[in-house]
Each structure stands twice: as C-alpha cells, then as structure tokens.
Symmetry: C2
Subunit: 390 residues, 2 copies
C-alpha cells in the first residue's frame, strides 16, 4: 500500500576523484570524476520511509543537473504518492512535457537526466513502501499497471499500448520458474574494470589475472585512441583469456562512420563479440552502416548508454542499427521510459545488455534487467550485464 | 584585426511575460514566457568593445542554462580572441567535448544551448572588432577560414573538409551581385505572428488583415491541438489571403507518426506549402515516413528548430526526411555548427528556411541566411525566413 504526501525533495552534488587513478577513463572521457546528482524524497507518512534516486555524471556539470532537479521539484512536492502511481504516465508526462521546460530538452540532456534522478527516487520510495526490491515490484505488477506507467507518445508506430499489453501478458507464463532461476543464479555479467584506457599493460594484466581467478568469463576493453595500442592491448587480453571466454570492445564514440569500420576490421582478428559506441550516439543511420559492414565478420554493434530517449531507441531498432541494446537506468527517464524500451527490444528480438559501471548504475539497472528476463524477454541468450569491480 | 584577451563573461536570466497575451502559444508550448540566457563578453582591448550572445528559452529553466554558461566560463575567460578565431574549430571542440561536461550532453539540450550563447557572443565580438555585420564578416572570409571554424567530427561520411571547401569556392562566383541584391531587396520572409494557437478568430482576422495591408504574402498557422479548430482557422486564413499567397502549417511536435499523416491529409484542401514539426524532433525515420506520405499531396515537411546538432541534420538529409531545413541560431552550436549544416543542405539541394520568432532569433539568424544566399546556396528558390512582428 503506497501512502503519504511528498513533503520534501532535496538534491546533493556528490563527486568522487576517480580521475586520480584513471579509473573509468576511455577514448572520449579521459579524466572522469565519477559523480552523481543524488535525490532524496520525503513524505508525511508515519513509516518515515524515504526514496533515494540518482543520475550518474562525470564531475563537472553535476551542479547543472542539480539545478535542473530543483526546477522540477515544484512538480513533485505536495503530490500524493498514491495519485502519482495510480496515473504514473501522466506524472511522467508532467515532468517531461512542461510547456516551458521542454524547450531546453525535450527529453534529452540535462533536464532528462534530472527527470531520471527524480523518478528513480519515486520508484525507490514506492518499492520500499511495498517492502519489495524494485524488480519484484515490477514482476508482480499486472500488465495493465505496467502499461499505465509508459508514455507511448512518439512510439505508437512501432509499439501500441495493445501490443505492449500482449507482450506483458505472454511474459506472465512460467514467470515463477524464471524468478527462481534469478534468485538462485543471478544475471550473467561481464566486467570492464580490467581495461580502462588509462591503465598500463601491467595493471591490465594483473587485473585480468585476478578477474579470471575470480571466475569472470567476459571482458570489455576500451579502444579508439590509438590503433597500435588497441592491437597490443587486445592481443594481450585475448592471449590471457583464451578463446573460450568473450571479449568486447568499446570505443566510446571516438570515430566517424568510415573510420569505425576500417579500425574495427583491424581488430577483427581478436574475435570481439561487439564494438560498443563506435560513433556519435545520435547517429542512427551511421550505426546502421557500421552494423551492415561488420556483420560478415561476426561482430555486432552495441550502443545505448548515451541514447537519450525512447524515440532514439525506436529508430535504432527500426534501422537495425544495433545488435545489443544497452539501456541506462539514469539516461532514460527512469523505470517508466525503460519499460517502453524493453518492450520494443522484445518486439524486434534484440537482446538488452544494460550499461552500468558508474556511480549507482549497477545497483539500479540490475532491477530492470532481472525484470526483463522474468517478465519480458524470457531469455538469457546473448544477454549480459556490465559490472564494476572494486 | 581581432585583439584582446577575454577578461570577463557574465550571463543574465532575462524573461518576458508573453504568456499573459498568449503570444507564442502553440500545441505543445501553451504558455511560453519568451526568455533568454544573455551572455556578455569583455576584453582588455582598448576599444572596450563587448560581445553579446544569447540562447532563446521559454521561461522556466532559463536559470539552468545560466548555470551551464557559468560552467563553460573557465574555458573562455583568459583566452586571446586572436587565438580563438585562428583555430576556431579547436575552440568549438573544447566547449563541446570537455571530457567531463560532454556526459550531460553531448552537443544537445542545456549544455549545447549554453555553448550557443557563449559562441554567439564570441562571433559578435569578432564582427564588431572587424566593424562588419556578422553576415559580411562571413561573406568576406576565405573558404579556408570558414572551413577552419567547422568541427567535421561525425559528418565526414556526408561532408568532408575538401567537399566543404569546394562548395565555398564555388560560392565565391558572382558573390558581389548577390550581396547587392540582399542589400537592396533583403531576404524573403513570412510571418507566424497572426496565428498563434491561443489567439481568437477575431484576433487572427484582424492581425491577418493588417499583415496583408502591410504587404505580407506568406502566413504560418499553428495547428495540432484540435482538428475542427484547425479546419476552421485554416479556412478562415486561406479565405482571407487567397490562393496567390502562401500558407504554412506548424504542429510543434504534437502528433505521433500515423496521426500526423491522417491529420494533415484533412488539412490538405487548404493547400499548405509545408507541415512543420509534425512529430518528435528526434524522429528522423518518422519524418521520413511522413514526407513520403505527404509528397503526393504537394505538402513538404519542415523541421529543425529543435534539431539539436549537425549529426541529426545529417541524418534528416540522408533519410530525405525534410524538404525545408530550419536552422536555429541558438539551438545549434552557433555560427560554427550552422556553417556545417548550411553546407550539407547545399550538398543535398535542400532549401534552408531558418527558424526565428523568439527573443533575438530573427536578429541572429538573418546573418546566417543572408550568408547562405550570398556564399553557399546562391538561390532564393523555396527559401523564406520566419519574422516576428511586434
């Protein structure tokens, strides 16, 4: 039973100096300070439960997202939680389609990141009041309830409300068996933590050896700044992990379209499963061209961590521009918008492999991907989640 | 001769209560308060000339853009103007590709609007020091200088630096005649000021009669909220202006893809030249579908005022998803990014019809479109600029 009126929303600018150790470094973000805009929501309910939500940032600019959260606050404070969740689609749209605020988005960049942080806190509050982890709250919602959280504006040419309902109704079949599987075995994962771009070969080797010892079988390497470095690092890691384990590459948007194709061809000998973010996150048609060029080599294209909303994901799917869809828990408009993307991916039979690895991302997105397995995709084939090691 | 070190950058949150009179109202922005984040740059040069730049906003959220301008300030203050303009491409990239700040964009939303405001101020300062209006500064730059201002990242699959140079070299032919034509006759224009969505039929009739008397020949009507209202208003204005004048429609992103097609078919009888922003500004493929469906009716698709960067415009052109390309002086990254879009439009032979009609937009974008005519497109066919009447 959800209850209480939201009486307060506060937001903090939280920064960690990760750039000091080159943790998280890649070809485009060479000195990130992993950070977050961190939202806390309070209610007047007797249980005194608070909702916590965040969006991930890289240091500078977190204060801008904090400013945007404050601009959304008046749409949240004073509202009854029961009213919000009873018509969550409307609430989502109030936050994303304000007639004045939408001009500086809409549904993209700073204002959308702020929306995600706020909505993540609302979902957290709801799940805590229901005394369930978020994934379980979602799994035990009816298809009708789930659909009522989704704003279908701009995606009905690919997914109607009726089609979404049908997918979710089918997802109820043998749901218990999949839930049991998740509780027992967890979700398959990979790690990027061995091979950030700024790490030395020695560091990479040591971390990779440790990870192999711990039982990791899937490894992602950052590439894109220097081809000879990439060849050396890929050889090094492939030699260590052998061909029974998986290798993925991540260029973090470093290349132009034709450059991406020729560069990845040079690395094809290392048999990567995918190339992630080969070019601009906005370039749907470019990703389509790259996908087509790399398909004969058995290399897929993965993208999504900077894909800013459901309209973009819709087109990536329509254009067959990705083979692995990487949702992000804080870039899209929280659970609400992620639900629509999971359903579209199911319709196109494209595996979702979430982006994580930043502040709070692993902790947030695991709920979405476990829900995806139990209630939407029903499959673990080609599906793996990013995990950040300490 | 440019000179001086930038010693100060200040930014103001300027708002006008336009919502009181429903000025600027449309199907998605029902109560806009036309506003701006207004940037002033000072140097230590003896001339004491200041540079003024802005980005347009709708009221709420202007403070977020102001916050973003402040976050960019450290990249600007302390720099020599001569160094900036000598390698403007690098400076553009420093503002748009900061390894930490780009995470909350990149090149979209709040941070990109802030970038536009800052760069607009730099261009204003440069033009003033050269004692030329901006359009004339651009017209008298060499093709090599112009190209050196453009960041070609992510667009080389459609426009290389060599191709851009060739277009600009060709643009030098008979440039003087076109400059003379502009000075003498100005640029063809249309007006939206008669038919904001919130205006009554009486108000619309009166404003339209006045505009006809003043010699206006092209009129844009806001549509999309209610089909019967749209039919009545379109009939009213078409009856007044007759069939020798042009009528354009603007839905401001109100529809889904299929809804857009069926709605506009109902209005086809009024022979509009274009339907503007029929759906989400992010939906390239959707605009392509709508363009294809409306082509047999002789109705084009116009969009661009919320098209957030050159990568998106590249794809709109590749997908034949627009027939009129509407650049915005403050949504794209100032003159620098607009140059790349003008050149891509030229390559695809698509007319540029700028978006304006907000605070400062007409004043800014006239320089770009005059430059486009004199030095890039060389044509006025199908080309008109939006003008806001008092």
């Amino acid at each position: 039973m959800v209850k209480g009126k939201i009486t307060g929303l506060s937001v903090k600018d939280v920064r960690f100096p990760t750039s000091l150790g080159q943790h998280g470094s890649d070809a485009m973000h060479t000195d990130p300070d992993y950070s977050a805009a961190y939202v806390v929501i309070e209610t007047d309910a007797e249980d005194a439960i608070k909702g916590y939500g965040l969006t991930f940032t890289l240091g500078k600019g977190t204060e801008i997202v904090v400013c945007a959260v404050k601009a959304l606050s008046h749409l949240v404070v004073g509202r009854n939680l029961e009213d919000i969740v009873a018509n969550f689609r409307d609430f989502y749209r109030q936050l994303t389609s304000d007639g004045q605020l939408r001009w500086i988005g809409p549904e993209k960049g700073v204002v959308h990141l702020a929306t995600a942080a706020v909505l993540n806190a609302v979902w957290d509050l709801w799940a805590k009041q229901e005394q369930k982890p978020l994934w379980k709250l979602l799994v035990y919602m009816t298809p009708e309830q789930l659909v009522s959280c989704i704003d279908f504006r701009y995606i009905t040419d690919v997914l109607t409300e009726a089609q979404a309902l049908e997918i979710l109704q089918n997802g109820k079949q043998r749901q218990e068996a999949r839930e049991e599987h998740m509780v027992k075995h967890g979700y398959p994962a990979y790690t990027t933590s061995c091979a950030w771009l700024g790490y030395s070969d020695n560091q990479l080797q040591k971390l990779c050896a440790d990870a192999l010892k711990e039982g990791w079988t899937r490894f992602k390497v950052k590439v894109g700044a220097d081809l000879q470095d990439d060849i050396r690092r890929c050889k090094l890691i492939r030699d260590m992990i052998g061909h029974d384990n998986e290798l993925m590459l991540d260029a973090n948007q470093r290349w132009d379209v034709n450059e991406a194709i020729s560069w990845v061809k040079e690395l094809a000998v290392f048999k990567p499963l995918w190339i992630e973010e080969p070019t601009s996150p906005d370039d749907i048609l470019g990703h389509g061209t790259i996908s087509k060029a790399l398909a004969p080599l058995g290399i897929g294209v993965a993208t999504g961590e900077q894909c800013h909303n459901r309209v973009m994901f819709k087109q990536f799917l329509q254009a067959r521009a990705l083979q692995y869809l990487q949702i992000d828990s804080c870039r899209l408009g929280s659970v609400n918008e992620n639900l629509s993307v999971l359903l579209m991916a199911k319709k196109f039979n494209i595996p979702v492999c979430p982006h994580a690895g930043g502040v709070g991302l692993c902790e947030l997105v695991q709920h979405l991907i476990i829900f995806d397995y139990i209630s939407v995709s029903g499959s673990l084939e080609k599906r793996i989640q990013d995990i950040l090691l300490k």
